[in-house]
């Protein structure tokens, strides 16, 4: 049984390594998930023979799912924050030479501008919604106590359940 379990797991981790090299990751993970399904069917009979190893049933599938979830959820924001920040180019590189002696200074470069801009913690609204529209107003309706409550927190629902 050990051998059987170990083998598909190895295949799984091999796939994972490969997927890191290939750009189209999501389709690769889908393949990986499909493979795991196959593996599950094949190992079904071994589980029937020993109930003790039931918790190992679909470990690699669970791992693959967790991996997939993580991949879908975060990559952009994390990369945006902790990814390598492009160093602002030293001024010397960007200046044009004039007559081989003077250099034209170009103060308004994008990154320079950011480094010296206003130090303020307020988060300004760039594209305000039109709060007169019914549709827009409805988009935050459930943020208020007057809106719809979750099943487990809805007082009316809980009361009704209690009476039953």
């Amino acid at each position: 049984i050990r051998e059987k379990l170990a083998k598909p797991l190895q295949v799984g981790s091999g796939q994972k390594l490969e997927s890191e090299n290939i750009i189209d990751e999501t389709s690769d993970i889908e393949d990986l998930l499909k493979e795991d399904d196959d593996y599950k069917e094949e190992s079904n009979y071994s589980i029937e023979t020993s109930g003790a190893l039931k918790w190992k049933e679909d470990l690699s599938r669970k791992a693959a799912e967790a991996f997939l979830r993580q991949q879908q959820a975060t990559p952009n924001l994390r990369k945006l924050i902790y990814g390598t920040v492009t160093q602002d180019n030293e001024d010397e590189d960007t200046r044009e030479e004039l007559g081989g002696l003077f250099r034209v200074s170009q103060p308004d470069r994008g990154c320079k501008h950011k480094a010296d801009s206003l130090d303020c913690s307020k988060f300004l609204v760039e594209a305000p919604h039109d709060w007169d529209l019914e549709e827009v107003m409805n988009s935050i309706k459930d943020c208020f106590v007057t809106g719809k409550w979750e099943e487990d927190k809805d007082a009316a629902k809980i009361l009704a359940d209690d009476e039953e």
């Binding site: 959820a73 975060t74 924001l77 994390r78 945006l80 924050i81 902790y82 920040v85 602002d88 200074s105 103060p107 320079k112 950011k114 480094a115 010296d116 801009s117 206003l118 130090d119 303020c120 913690s121 307020k122 988060f123 609204v125 305000p128 919604h129 709060w131 107003m137 409805n138 988009s139 935050i140 309706k141 459930d142 943020c143 208020f144 106590v145 007057t146 809106g147 719809k148 409550w149």
Partner: protein
Amino acid sequence: MATQTHSLSYAGCNFLRQRLVLSTLSGRPVKIRKIRARDDNPGLRDFEASFIRLLDKITNGSRIEINQTGTTLYYQPGLLYGGSLEHDCSVLRGIGYYLEGLLCLAPFMKHPLKIVLRGVTNDQVDPSVDVLKATALPLLKQFGIDGESFELKIVRRGMPPGGGGEVIFSCPVKKALKPIQLTDPGKIKRIRGMAYSVRVSPQMANRIVDSARGILNKFIPDIYIYTDHMKGVNSGKSPGFGLSLVAETTNGTFLGAELASNPQGQGAAVLPEDLGKNCARLLLEEIYRGGCVDSTNQSLALLLMTLGQQDVSKVLLGPLSPYTIEFLRHLKSFFQIMFKIETKPCGEELKGGDKVLMTCVGIGFSNLSKTLK
């Protein structure tokens, strides 16, 4: 602190406060170069110099070196000392600019901080004292920073350009912070606000209240907006009016929004009705962004999570502001802390936009200089 650690180096004047604050907390010196180096008027401005002076006041043994043109600043932090202090803030920025720095540092002083700040209490750039009082203080309480002396009081109101406001901020010291688990903001149960007017007709505040209520009443009935008209010496040196709104949820989350009139002699006159309506809309935008901490206080919450005990802290935020994103990068370089960031799409629920769940393990920062009694 005579630490031999390498100093961190940055360029430009943006994010100056967070760099200096994190340097003070971590004990790592910073060097900031090219401060407005290409500007017609290069170097540090008055308001930044005032912030550095404030840091010098609350610490003991800080070393500050500024070059002749003011374009390079070297800061080697000392120990946070605290005590009873006074500080005249520059009128170019609001008191909120200074207060935001102090809110990060005050819990870690040797002696409890009690400071009188003079300057502009409400302006169009920085979070006003009213909003910080209503949103940042409850946030600090979530981390266990609380006590009788925990207070932010507005004694006088001052509007730009003249200023003349005065606030008293006092904060108890804490040895360690509690980790937080703020993953459910709850539902908004009431909206409170403060419409203020100084050196203009007191009727302005009432006009603001009426127009703001007109918009917010469609969402929730429990709205109360106080009017505050300060007179005489308590009204500062310049006329102006404004509104700050705070939405409070069932789980103790406070979301704030505010607007102030144009400073005297700058820009067109603003109608109080328009100001009230626009401020109410800003609050709706803030509710749309959502989360357990509003957009202004994101970085404060993340800092206190980082400094907490060695335990997992979680907080649900709205979209991260550019200021917060830079702050996260700084947290990484000063404290080697990286957050786990999970985006939570809004889905079918009618609860505004996408949210972000931030998770980290605190570094177990403890205030060793706090005196034992």
